[in-house]
Point group: C2
Chain length 337, copies 2
């Protein structure tokens, strides 16, 4: 079944208002959920929606608590998220980073004490759509061992880099520092498949492509082995330093993944010179990679964000594919409004 | 044979002056070369020195050409490196990024049209030693295929993140976006060893740990497969946008690796609040990872920069290990001064 984008967004909006979001925030949050499904990131869109409403009902997320600035120094601001709804706070923080960038070319907001931001790409796309380039990341609970260690003491700390294009086909990279997420491992195991690459260690300490063995050992592999481990630690260090907030270790000690830090860095290309020249540079880089001979004949070389863009066009035209039972669950929530 | 640090530095300095560096620059450059060897990065220290002198003599590097600012906007400056000596220009750019950070908390310098900066970690350490955190990177010539492609059309674009510690044991991450450099592949091949992990494709398009097969196909693997490919492109996009300079594709077309862009981002922790509190946060993160049970008994979990720190102490005390013939070559250069 496929559901029109506007129907999905309006249904989300109505439910969010009913569960305590004010009108503005309900609109922002509904757009974020619907856009994630629209872009093909269903795990962070419709499929996550009922669970988030459950967390709101339990009081784990209080939609009335809003992030606010607590310190300002030049092109930098520190915000406290007060553990409100993660994506609303993250959106506000990126908006502020863009305002600072409009003044200083670069703007940085460190948002501490926030909840999960859902899909990191959301904020990269948010910036690109306003014509800004952005680098942003979040720390997480400890879900990966540091290189050389056994316990999960570093986060997969998703890192996002986005660059705007005049044609709207923005470059948006959104990568976690683990090679595979636990969600992906489960998907492969349930399908009875091996991973396409080595993804972690088994319980005997051997590298393996068996998803179930890695789920048991809890030793997922960082991207680039020691390199991704170092990147993960670096992102946590800079985030925690900027926010003076919770480290991956702090978050791990909470038992539940909350109180996270997100860092938003925005660059305003408007101040960097001629916009057409900048757009030409971006297009030149993406065209150069795109024209590399495909490794597999007939499968074009895509850049990060390009596949999402194509999915978006398809889903806008033909509706968003949904798992019928999940959509029904949302319709049931809507019936109670 | 081991050579005292001061002897090595002074020998370099003398040679650099003789080959056209002014007194100040000779001192900075000699320190960079000697420090790289001191830290155990011999490939970018003594072992590279004779080759760089050769390039100066040929006129490929003009030590009298200095980077200079060409545009300023808020916390951002754009510099033109005029293809002078890469490390001198990069050092000046990082110094300027720190000055901007002292004013705006964050400072950014995009240095275009520069030569190779040698070891990226140099500039992370430079910032950390002054008490700043830093993120910096360089683009390179095309030396890796984009994910899904065959020709080398993206760079390994080394990325550096550094965080200062009061005890001087700074965190310095310095990672290229390729799993293995061509230098490393050659080392393994010459020793007749397989790579410790899959490192690229053979000429039939199969993933392999055979270094020689990858050298033939020229298809090295990005860290984290598609993720490192995306990161590499993102770094080139942002660098080229900020510098309005040469992209990886432009540099590739030059045939020789010159005219590169480096981006220096500095954060001033002085403006972020209490320095002791910040140092505690950093120590907390590094201690938490360090106390993960070692995967191999007796082999402690180290953080990026820790091994270099230990090598530095050892080499300061006992002298820097050198390949006798290379050191002799440098002494010969010195005899001609």
């Amino acid at each position: 079944m496929r559901v029109p984008y506007e129907t999905m967004k309006e249904t989300f909006r109505e439910i969010l208002v009913h569960h305590g979001f004010d009108e503005n925030d309900a609109d922002t949050a509904a757009t974020i959920f619907a856009d994630n499904s629209l872009d093909g990131v269903y795990t962070h869109g419709l499929n996550r929606f009922p669970r988030i409403i459950g967390e709101v009902d339990k009081g784990a997320i209080n939609p009335r608590l809003k992030a606010e600035p607590v310190m300002r120094a030049g092109a930098f601001e520190r915000w406290n998220g007060h553990r409100g709804f993660g994506p609303i706070n993250a959106t506000a923080a990126m908006n502020r980073a863009m305002e600072l960038a409009s003044e200083y070319t670069v703007g940085v907001v460190a948002l501490g004490n926030n909840n999960h931001w859902l899909r990191g790409g959301t904020y990269g796309l948010q910036a690109a759509r306003k014509g800004f380039a952005a680098i942003c990341w979040s720390n997480t609970t400890g879900n990966m061992p540091p290189w050389g260690g056994k316990q999960a003491r570093i986060g997969n700390n998703p890192l996002v880099m986005a660059v705007p294009r005049k044609n709207g086909m923005h470059f948006v990279l959104d990568v976690a520092m683990s090679e595979f997420s636990y969600g992906k491992l489960e998907q492969y195991r349930l399908r009875g498949e091996k991973l396409p690459f080595i993804g972690g260690y088994d319980e005997d300490g051997n590298l393996t492509d068996d998803p179930g063995a890695i789920e048991k050992s809890r030793r997922v592999l960082p991207i680039g082995y020691h390199k991704g481990s170092g990147l993960s630690i670096a992102l946590d260090l800079i985030a925690s330093m900027l926010s003076q907030g919770n480290t991956v270790g702090d978050v791990t000690s909470f038992g539940t993944e909350t109180g996270l830090t997100q860092v938003m860095i925005a660059f305003d290309p408007e101040l960097l010179g001629d916009r057409d020249a900048t757009d030409e540079i971006i297009t030149k880089i993406l065209d150069y990679t795109a024209t590399s001979t495909p490794a597999v004949e007939g499968r074009p070389v895509l850049y990060p964000g390009e596949h999402s863009y194509m999915t978006r066009q398809d889903n806008l035209k033909n509706g968003i594919p949904v798992i019928d039972e999940v959509w029904q669950k949302v319709l049931d929530l809507s019936a109670h409004c």
